[in-house]
Structures are given as structure tokens and as C-alpha cells.
């Protein structure tokens, strides 16, 4: 499961810390997701996409290796 959080953050000119605040998780959680250390809950994934003005499908994508 890949994500475009970093790209979309750049597009929105927002830091990891700011994104974290807006979705109410710690900065480390955002960093860990962004760097692929772990996978967010669906709730968090949708909130992140929302804050980045994208749909969840635009920000998160399944990979062949996920099956």
C-alpha cells in the first residue's frame, strides 16, 4: 500500500506537524505512515486525504504485493 502524502503535503504547503494537528495524531504517526513504517487505520487515512483536499483513492493505493 503506497501513499502520496509527501507529494500532497508539498502541494498544500503543509508540514508533517501541521497535518498531524489537523487530523489529531502525533507528528511521529504521520512521519511513520509517510515513510512506510506503518499503515494507518481507514479512519486516519480518510482524514489525511480530506485535509490534503484529495480523495482517499488519490492519496492511498494498493500494490500488487498487497495481495
Amino acid at each position: 500500500m503506497k501513499n502520496l502524502i509527501k507529494v500532497e503535503r508539498a502541494r498544500n504547503n503543509i508540514t508533517q506537524a501541521e497535518l498531524a494537528d489537523k487530523v489529531k495524531v502525533s507528528r511521529q504517526t504521520i512521519n511513520s505512515i509517510e515513510t512506510g513504517r506503518f499503515i494507518p487505520s481507514a479512519l486516519l487515512a480518510f482524514k489525511i486525504a480530506n485535509v490534503l483536499h484529495r480523495t482517499a483513492d488519490e492519496v492511498f493505493q494498493l500494490e500488487d504485493s498487497d495481495w
Copy 2:
């Protein structure tokens, strides 16, 4: 966070057990998500949507109460 798994299962004429098999989780996990007892990981949510021939955004939706 609401989901339309039950509706989409009906549309695809597939049981909880069959859906569970296809996304490789237990039947109870599907049931628990469907009945709102817990929220799936983003990975599982996207797989479920995929098996149901829908996008994640079509199957899962944020609610005002999520914020």
C-alpha cells in the same frame, strides 16, 4: 466512519465468509467491520472495496462525528 459493505455485498451477491476469504481475514473481522464494532486498516478497507468492485471512497465515508 460509515461503510456500505452490506449493500455492496448484496449487489455482488457474496457472503461475509466469501468476502473474508478473498481479502484474507476471518469472517468475524468482516462482520465486526460491517456492524461497526471496529474500523479496518486502510489496507483492508481498500482490499474490501476492490473485491466489491468499488473505490474505497464509494464504500467508506467519513462522518461529521469523526472530527
